[in-house]
């Protein structure tokens, strides 16, 4: 088992609010680790609208989601934050007292952190695979229906059906085709948004008779005791046909779910975490909530509001990390001390 990571602050989430908060914490000599379920920084900006222009970031008449994330990462570079991607925080245990909070944070991959404050900057929750709304699909999950491929062996010598037209669907089609008994890709139209080279590779396999491509939508599943036997596929013309399937992998994109956050003893108000507006602290001293996931009178789900919330939370966190010290407010324009931290003095 790897050793527990000791740090000042664990930030749950790596979206824009979390990233800027690293900056505000860094100016106060507070170290942070960020944990996110996605494979990269940026949260919704990176996952939902990387190329969409955003018009309400102060000082940027227009910037894309990706552009903003890139600039935020450059801005926090002097503070060397550590990112832990592709893992969800599952447990949050309170170790300290209200006066001197301490926490143990665990992720689903078993990584453990010990820290003095936790900032929940989880947006709309963690991104999880979207389940296609097919009646009764739950009965087959984890036995025959998988939303991600963790062990390829699970698919060896099976009739595998992959649904979708994006990169995940095409990549796994190409990876699993050699080991599956028969692989069928089901997509609602004969156009794919995946990378052209993988689409071409798939089409070559189809012409060579090594796999099947079915244009249509799965409308029903049948099988016994969680073991899938067949799927009903409806074509664009409305004809329904049966397809033999033992393993089904639907790729329908991601959706946001609150997930384990609901079990951390925090007050919740319709999946949002109520906070005070002076420090953005939750009902548990030492646990803060900023960005889209918090709620207070007048709350606006804007990136710029998240920046403000993180800045104020950092002030309170300073007192938890350095209980003996007095915090003197300084400006980056005039403080040599701050400029040294930023590497510009």
């Amino acid at each position: 088992m790897e050793e527990s990571i000791k740090t000042d602050v664990v930030i749950v989430g790596a979206g824009p609010t979390a990233l800027f908060t690293v900056f505000e914490l860094g100016l106060l000599d507070i170290k942070s680790h960020l944990i996110d379920v996605l494979p990269r920084a940026g949260g919704q900006c990176a996952e939902l609208y990387p190329e969409k222009p955003i018009y309400d970031i102060p000082g940027h008449p227009m910037i894309t989601g990706d552009g903003l994330v890139e600039k935020l990462l450059a801005q926090i570079e002097p503070f060397h934050p550590t990112f832990h991607f592709e893992q969800m925080v599952t447990e949050l245990e309170v170790l300290g007292s209200a006066q001197t909070p301490a926490f143990r944070v665990k992720t689903e991959t078993g990584r453990t952190f010990e820290c003095k404050a936790v900032i929940v900057a989880a947006g709309g929750g963690s991104f999880q695979p979207k389940k296609p709304p097919i009646d009764g699909i739950e009965a087959y999950e984890q036995k025959s229906v998988f939303y991600a491929v963790r062990k390829m062996e699970e698919f060896r010598d099976r009739n595998v059906v992959i649904v979708g037209g994006g990169d995940s669907a095409l990549d796994w089609t190409l990876n699993l085709q050699p080991i599956a008994k028969r692989l069928t890709l089901v997509h609602r139209r004969d156009e794919f948004r995946a990378a052209p080279h993988s689409v071409n590779a798939m089409r070559e396999l189809v012409s060579a008779g090594k796999m099947d491509l079915r244009i249509g939508q799965i409308i029903g599943l049948s099988g016994d005791n969680g073991e899938l036997a067949s799927a009903q596929v409806k074509s664009a013309k409305g004809e329904v046909s049966e397809l033999a399937v033992e393993r089904l992998i639907p790729f329908f994109g991601l959706t946001m779910k609150l997930g384990p956050i609901a079990q951390w003893g925090l007050n919740l108000n319709e999946n949002l975490i109520p906070v005070d507006t002076a420090q953005f602290e939750t009902n548990v001293p030492g646990i803060f909530a900023i960005g889209d996931i918090n709620h207070y009178p007048g709350k606006l789900k804007l990136i710029l509001c998240g920046f403000h919330e993180g800045s104020l939370a950092a002030q309170k966190i300073y007192h938890y990390v350095y209980p003996e010290k007095k915090l003197v407010f300084q400006y980056t324009t005039s403080s040599t001390n701050l400029q040294k931290k930023l590497g510009v003095a």
Partner: protein, 107 residues
């Protein structure tokens, strides 16, 4: 002039509401608490939870989905040739009387 849009839900119930020119069909639905439109991403064409079927009489006026919208429709449930994401349909005076039907489930 007032522009009216009729939403028919999956059980067949009709709701006719007034729409503002320049807004979208999705925004009109949310503003009027029309059920069966989730609009998880808030109109960024980044999810597929404002899926509607456009009445065939209006298809030539609304036009079809853009390539980006088609990509998102891949995530929708039970798409049909007249499927659109309502956040991508701008309300114009020509669309007065528009009828859209909502699917029983939004992905």
């Amino acid at each position: 002039m007032t522009i009216k849009i009729t939403f028919i839900d999956s059980s067949g119930e009709k709701r006719t509401v007034e729409a503002e020119e320049g807004s979208t069909v999705m925004e009109t639905a949310i503003r009027n608490s029309v059920p069966e439109i989730t609009a998880e991403c808030g109109g960024a064409c980044a999810c597929a939870t404002c899926h509607v079927y456009v009445d065939k009489a209006f298809l030539s006026l609304t036009g079809g989905p853009s390539p980006q919208e088609e990509d998102m429709l891949d995530f929708a449930y039970a798409t049909q040739p007249n499927s659109r994401l309502s956040c991508q349909i701008k309300v114009t005076p020509e669309l007065d009387g528009l009828i859209v039907t909502t699917p029983p489930r939004q992905g």
